[in-house]
């Protein structure tokens, strides 16, 4: 007799998903899947709209990292208005966008670490679910909760100053930006009252990293072995191989660090990447064409970025990067839970870059927009907090969008998340008949490490809880649990 377990809804992630786990009569896991069951639609309803609306329209995909969609769309439209691919903007245009992006990274990573994942580190994967949340953190470690909230606030304020609003702003326009930074705004971030200033944020980012390192050293076996599996890794890198979250060339390495995608111009992404549709999920499965569906899938996000880049162009993050790389002797890191470690190094990098940019007089410049010979098609890539984000648009003769293709970070991580779910299910559920809350959360911890944005991935609307169900071969439900 075989069984099917369903986890629905998945919690402390953005969007709505469920997990099904099929077991045979002996209780061995046969197959596990993460299903994204929401409606996908943005690529369709952006059709017919004037192209300059896209950065404002498509960012509504998400309320956590709308800036990434806003900027990826704007970068694609830079190509369409003849402003080049990323390096053709005015210094003020590019640096204001970068500041917006680092602000976004800082707030989104802080949200993920403190609000969504830290409860698992503080209270344990099988800790009491009643306190295993941000409220539990606020009650037991108030200083940590305040730090999380204020780091997020600082990032959001940077976004407000560059995009006009904390969520769903309008700063980036085709060919540049619609505002510069005022001296007052700059000084507020540089010299603001404690804790809301750039120095404090760098220091708090270091503290968060120390907190995770402490957790890691105390739980090394668990962290190292939790859902470990080798994979390819893909991200943008700067032309010289540096970590660059805003612009660069597309690089992929295999599990041993060998380059399998050689720093290509992302305008040609479609020559290298293909998406597979599977009937049980609204989320597609991208892979590198050259290596096929079985071997060409890859991971994106913090883990992947620190595996593909050669160095980090900010001193404190570079120092941490060297310590981190030493864990795997310079080889790619394939440990699922060390995604959190990589994320916090990026948080520190974002804080350092914010600090550096705020001291750059180009932000106060008035030359905001560049335009050149109009093109019909453009691709914009950016490293969103959750990984590489692709926006691709084609327009008609009347300036209306006639084709849009979005490959969002979570879609890129679809196959790895399914692998992660399968690994954890095998290790905690094999031979078990009854699902405990702890088992269910272990599966969610694996998904959560990727910081997925499930509604983003299907370009959907609505909330995102997760559910697990156990079903026998005759489709009789044996057990079912929901988390809210």
């Amino acid at each position: 007799m075989t069984k099917k377990i369903t986890i629905e809804p998945v919690t402390r992630v953005e969007g709505h998903g469920k997990v099904t786990i099929h077991m045979d009569a002996q209780g061995n896991i046969q197959q596990s899947r993460l299903h994204i069951v929401e409606f996908r639609g943005f690529e369709r309803f952006v059709q017919g709209r004037p192209y300059w609306e896209a950065p404002v329209l498509v960012q509504r995909l998400c309320g956590i990292c709308p800036v990434s969609h806003h900027l990826a769309a704007a970068k694609a439209l830079d190509v369409i208005v003849g402003a080049g691919t990323g390096d053709g903007l005015t210094p003020t245009g590019e640096k204001m966008r970068r500041l917006m992006h680092y602000g976004q990274f800082f707030q989104s990573h802080a949200l993920h670490f403190f609000h969504l994942s830290a409860p698992d580190f503080l209270f344990g994967v099988d800790g009491d679910p009643a306190i295993r949340n941000i409220i539990g953190i606020a009650l037991t470690k108030p200083e940590l909760a305040v730090q999380g909230v204020m780091m997020r606030k600082f990032g959001q304020e940077i976004i407000r100053a560059t995009a006009g609003k904390k969520i769903h702003g309008t700063g980036a326009i085709p060919g540049g930006i619609n505002k510069n930074l005022s001296i007052e705004e700059r000084d507020e971030f540089l010299k603001g009252a404690d804790p809301l200033n750039a120095d404090k944020m760098v220091s708090w980012a270091q503290d968060a990293l120390d907190f995770f390192k402490g957790y890691y050293h105390a739980n090394k076996d668990f962290v190292d072995n939790f859902s470990y599996f080798p994979s390819n890794h893909l991200s943008l890198v700067r032309k010289d191989g540096a970590l660059d979250l805003y612009h660069g060339v597309l690089r992929a390495v295999d599990a041993d660090g060998k380059k399998i995608l050689h720093d290509i111009d992302y305008q040609e992404y479609a020559d290298y990447i293909e998406e597979e549709v599977r009937s049980w999920s609204y989320m597609k499965f991208p892979y590198l064409k050259e290596y096929g569906k079985e071997k060409g899938w890859y991971r994106v996000g913090p883990l992947a970025r620190l595996n593909t880049c050669d160095f980090i162009p900010s001193p404190l993050a570079q120092k941490e990067f060297e310590i981190y790389k030493a864990l795997t002797h310079g080889k790619p890191n394939n440990h699922c839970m060390l995604m959190h470690y990589a994320r916090l190094i990026e948080t520190l990098h974002a804080a350092e870059k914010i600090h550096e940019l705020l001291n750059d007089p180009d932000l106060l410049g008035t030359d905001l927009v560049t335009k050149g010979t109009k093109q019909k098609e453009g691709v914009g890539l950016i490293e969103a907090p959750r990984g590489t984000l692709f926006h691709h648009y084609r327009i008609n003769d009347n300036d209306q969008i006639e084709m849009a293709n979005l490959i969002v970070s979570t879609t890129n991580n679809n196959e790895p998340m399914n692998k992660a779910v399968n690994n954890v299910a095998k290790s905690v559920m094999t031979g078990k008949e009854v699902i405990t809350e702890g088992m269910m959360n272990a599966v969610e911890v694996a998904i959560r490490a990727y910081d997925p944005c499930l509604s983003c991935a299907t370009h959907a609307l609505g909330k995102m809880p997760l559910e697990i169900t156990m079903i026998d071969p005759n489709n009789v439900v044996l057990d079912q649990k929901r988390s809210h």
Partner: protein, 231 residues
Amino acid sequence: MSNLIKFKIDGVECMAEGGKFIVEAAAENGIYIPTLCNMKGVKPKGACRICSVRINGRLMTSCTTPVTDGMEIESESEEIRELRRSIVELLFVSGNHFCPACEKSGSCELQALGYYYQMMVPRFPYEFPQKGVDATSSKIIKDQNRCIFCKRCIKTIKDEEGRSFFAFRNRGHRTEVVLDPVMAEKMDDATAQLAMENCPVGSILVKEKGFDKPIGTRKFDKQPIGSDIKL
């Protein structure tokens, strides 16, 4: 010779030149009565009804009714506010007004009135009508989803010979305001810009320059609609 007369709006003593339309006379006395189809310098026609007031028990449009001596006008009673709120709601549900992605957001008079009358969710069902976007002009886009048929573009956007760039097409439920294809070829940048500015909503958009006004500097970002009139 001065032709000053006295009248009252919501009990407040006002004075204006006799024969002026109420909406203008009210503004001169620092009282805001909302308008959508009405524009200064253009013959009023009372199409949108948002400026409705009650005079001697009757509902009248204040953009087309001249003020007279001793007139008592009710404008901000709960009944009139409710009437105006429902007109705003009806305009929202009868088109496809998606403010989040509209570049006129923040400068849109319909949106500003929605805030002014504290519209939360329209009480009427959305029609979600099937409307098109005419982007064939090299200067502007005419988005029919957002048109409220105020006729401001037809009345104000004209060439030097007085010929209008815009016109009504079809009748009844199929009515739409369109850019005359022959006139469209004569449209210059300044005319296109004026057409966008005169449109109270986001139905007329100048091509290739959207969202260039940062949030915080748009028409209604700092003050609600009518603030320039209110004393």
